[in-house]
Amino acid sequence: LWQESGQTALENARVCVFGSTALAAETLKNLVLPGIGEFTVVDDGVVGEQDTLTNFFVQPSDQGKPRAECIVQGLCELNPDVRGSAVTRSPAELLASSDPADIQLVADATLVLACGQPESVVCALSRRCWQARIPLVASDYAGFYARVRTSIPEHAVVESHADTPSDLRLLTPFPALRSYIEQIDLDVLDSTDLAHVPYPIIVAKALKALSLDGDAAVPTVQQKRELRDYITTMAHAPGEENFDQAVEAVTQHCKPYSTPDAIDQILSDPAVAAPPTDEAKGDHFWLLVRALRAYVHSDYALGMLPLNGSIPDMKADTKGYIALQRIYKQKATEDAAEFATHVARELSEAGLAGDYISADEVAVFCRNASNLRLLRFTSLHDEIEGKSLCAAAENLVAADVASHYALFRASARFEAVHGRYPGVTASTNDAEMLDDELVASDAAKLIDISNELLAEWGLGPETKVDEDLAMEFARSGHCELHNISSMTGGIVSQEAIKLITHQYVPENSLCIVDGVKAKSYVARI
């Protein structure tokens, strides 16, 4: 699914995981199986009976042993090519340390995962990772609910694998396409051959016949109607598939070329002129974007992105299809070569070697020029410290997730005040007594804290927390259910793979998993 380039990125990646309960282990399982290069687990937890009941990667005989070591051992069995190691220390303690080796642990990571960590640890990690521009994905749980949040200043996707309509340039045919179409005479073809003419040629002929093929021509709604009618008369018999395809193509392909909005935004982004320095990480994105902008503004390109060159399958005879395909491929090759000269110029102006970016990478970027995506995030530490939430709070309401989010945050605040999570009687889950009255009264406290938080974020007083949901959170006692951790581990690992391979589009930035309603909510915060 991520091809060789993605697989290489995975195999070169180093993932640093804080936490070692089921959530961490399940996330890692889905990274170890496809072949992540290296992973480290940081946690000082010790295997207890509860771990043997919820965490598949510890063994019943592991009780009393350091949990991080146990899951590393269980996970490494899944793939002998993966290198895994355990650091049996508390995440908080390690992050507070100024020992260079400890700092290197995070600094060397390709990606950092925080699984079931308290807000203080997540905040500290977020600062470290944000500064170093290392993607961080933090996840945690509360019974049937879970939360996933990605934090990285920016993330560029070149290979989004999105479905985009083909760029056939019918309204503005490039010279080779124009002359190829001109030398085809539909009038000398017999019925069989006519029924096998690829539709782009039919549409082009119709445009010419109705004098709509001039340089400034943009067919009006009325003219498009006339085009469709005319195309129908061109056929020898009704119901010919290629003529049907031509009629359909009028809507799609008889409109002026326009660069997708997302690309326009990227090309005019301030970072194009002043990119963040990421040479150490091999991030070539902005350099390539600068080259792309220069290309688009050049006389050669006439304001259009490089042609991708792929055409869809269509009703046609083999020879005609292949010939047409070759014309588009040739133009794409020429555009790619022209683009490469702009890249070379950017490299030389930056004082970099000509092969600093591989020819392959340049070609992939060029092919995907219409599908580029740039995601910008807010930092987790800004969110937790409340600096960015007021601006984003409306997104939570719009996504129907304000109550869930507030309850996660309220639970953390409750724990900071009372030294235990809502609904839980003892400080560890092992020797827990179940107390219905405590659950009910803690739910009431959760409601108050949540409503305070919602007001702090500028959402009160119309926005109140869902009281049944608060009851569910108190009922959960912030426990970890294996099914939810397994599902969340699947989601986190998939986001991790997207962030490492820069393929497919990651979620920006919050996802709440609802195991009661079997759905997820996403919001940008």
Partner: protein, 424 residues
């Protein structure tokens, strides 16, 4: 209360089984039969169908969710290519039955769980076998197997009433997408009600494949769909057999060369023949967890269960939503079990059979047809097939009258269908 195996569940699940939950409709700390949610979980007997990518995840989840009486059925043995997803298997296990190795792994990991493997095809097991279970979870990779178990389970309710009521939780994945559904036979939509959700992907038109190929896929289909059956009429093309795929690559490449079409390779050929998108661990994890999460809720009533179809996609962000798929009153399995066809009187019986296979409503595999007392065509046994084969080329107008009702049986169904045929 004596248990078959000692029941253990983690403190988290215990909270959901024992705490009052006034906000959850239908949750009772003791039900009408004097059972607690803990009792329901302790005595639940779960059947897992499939011990592959989804199956391994499902078994792990069940063992980690307090289920302690699990059966798993799978007819396959372990292949080297399974090891990058099916994490209960190791290199030394290649060649051994999946169900047995998976069960042994789970047993070692969770000694208090009773887990029984069946190295069998689902069709080999008796009705009594299925009647014994509380709930069934499917991690299958074929529509036919899904339809078979769905039809069987729907039939059990009809025959045995409540005793035959077995919820099915079904999961499927494809690349970065997947789905899970909760089927309550005779209550909500069964699998066949939503057959169009599983419609076969459109294959290429036969004239393109035969005469005007343009894509490497067309050449591959030519080799696999036309040439293979022509040269090996009695041998089924096996997408998992490298010799078969290599043959396809060779023939397709030769054809592609004459048409100047580039791009044929082994993995493309295999993908086209098997019609597959690669499976990945993360999506399997998500869908399997959704299934076992629903199983826990269905069995214990601790929270509302999925009603009734969940869809997940990781292609662009994270997208998971669920909706109630409606029951189909005309469903061939749980509905009226009748259908109709309209064909010209001059159509042959063979063409009628093709129509039954290709129709999105029926999607039958190898139908056997009779009209009243008359056997029109038998797929099996060999002797009857030979006897009725001459009917295939006869026109249906000669075999019966317009408006007749035919009785049809098929490997995908466990009971017969009535199909009325009108001459158009």
């Amino acid at each position: 209360m004596a248990m078959a195996s000692p029941f253990k569940c983690d403190a988290g699940i215990s909270r959901y089984l024992q705490l009052k939950a006034p906000h959850v409709e239908g949750f009772e700390l003791v039900n009408d039969e004097n059972e607690t949610p803990r009792d329901l979980l302790a005595k639940a007997k779960v059947l897992v169908i499939g011990a592959g990518g989804l199956g391994c995840e499902i078994l792990k989840n069940l063992a980690m969710s307090g289920f302690n009486d699990i059966h798993v059925i799978d007819m396959d043995t372990i292949d080297l290519s399974n090891l990058n997803r099916q994490f209960l298997f190791r290199k030394d296990d290649v060649g051994k039955p999946k169900a047995e190795v998976a069960a042994a792994f789970i047993k070692r990991r969770s000694p208090h769980v009773s887990i029984t493997p069946h190295f069998k095809r689902i069709q080999e097991m008796s009705e009594e076998f299925y009647l014994d279970f509380t709930i069934i979870i499917c991690g299958l990779d074929s529509i036919e197997a899904r339809r078979w178990i769905n039809a069987l389970i729907c039939g059990l309710v009809e025959e045995h009433g409540f005793k035959g009521f077995k919820p099915i939780i079904d999961g499927g994945t494809e690349g970065l997408r997947g789905n899970a559904r909760v089927i309550l036979p005779s209550v909500n939509a069964c699998l066949d009600c939503g057959l169009d959700l599983y419609s076969k992907k459109a294959t290429y038109p036969i004239c393109t494949i035969a005469n005007t190929p343009r894509l490497p896929e067309h050449c591959i289909e030519w080799a696999s769909v036309l040439e293979w059956p022509r040269l090996f009429p009695d041998k089924k093309l096996d997408g998992d057999d490298p010799d078969h795929i290599n043959w396809v690559v060779e023939k397709a490449s030769a054809r592609a060369a004459t048409f100047n079409i580039p791009g044929i390779n082994y993995s493309l050929a295999q993908g086209v023949v098997k019609n597959i998108i690669p499976a990945i661990a993360s999506t399997n994890a998500i869908v399997a967890a959704a299934c076992t999460n629903e199983a826990l809720k269905v069995v214990t009533t601790c929270n509302p269960y999925l009603d009734n179809y969940m869809f997940y996609s990781g292609l662009d962000g994270v997208y998971m939503f669920s909706f109630p798929y409606a029951r189909n009153p005309d469903c061939l399995v749980c509905g009226k079990r009748e259908g109709s066809l309209s064909l010209p009187a001059t159509a042959t019986l063979d063409e009628l059979i093709t129509a039954l296979k290709e129709s999105p409503v029926f999607q039958l595999k190898a139908p056997t047809i009779s009209h009243g007392e008359t056997n029109l065509y038998f797929q099996n046994p060999k002797a009857l097939e030979a006897l009725t084969r001459p009917n295939l080329v006869k026109s249906i107008g000669d075999l019966f009258e317009s408006g007749s009702t035919l009785t049809v049986t098929d490997p995908t169904l466990t009971t017969s269908l009535s199909v009325s045929v009108d001459f158009s």
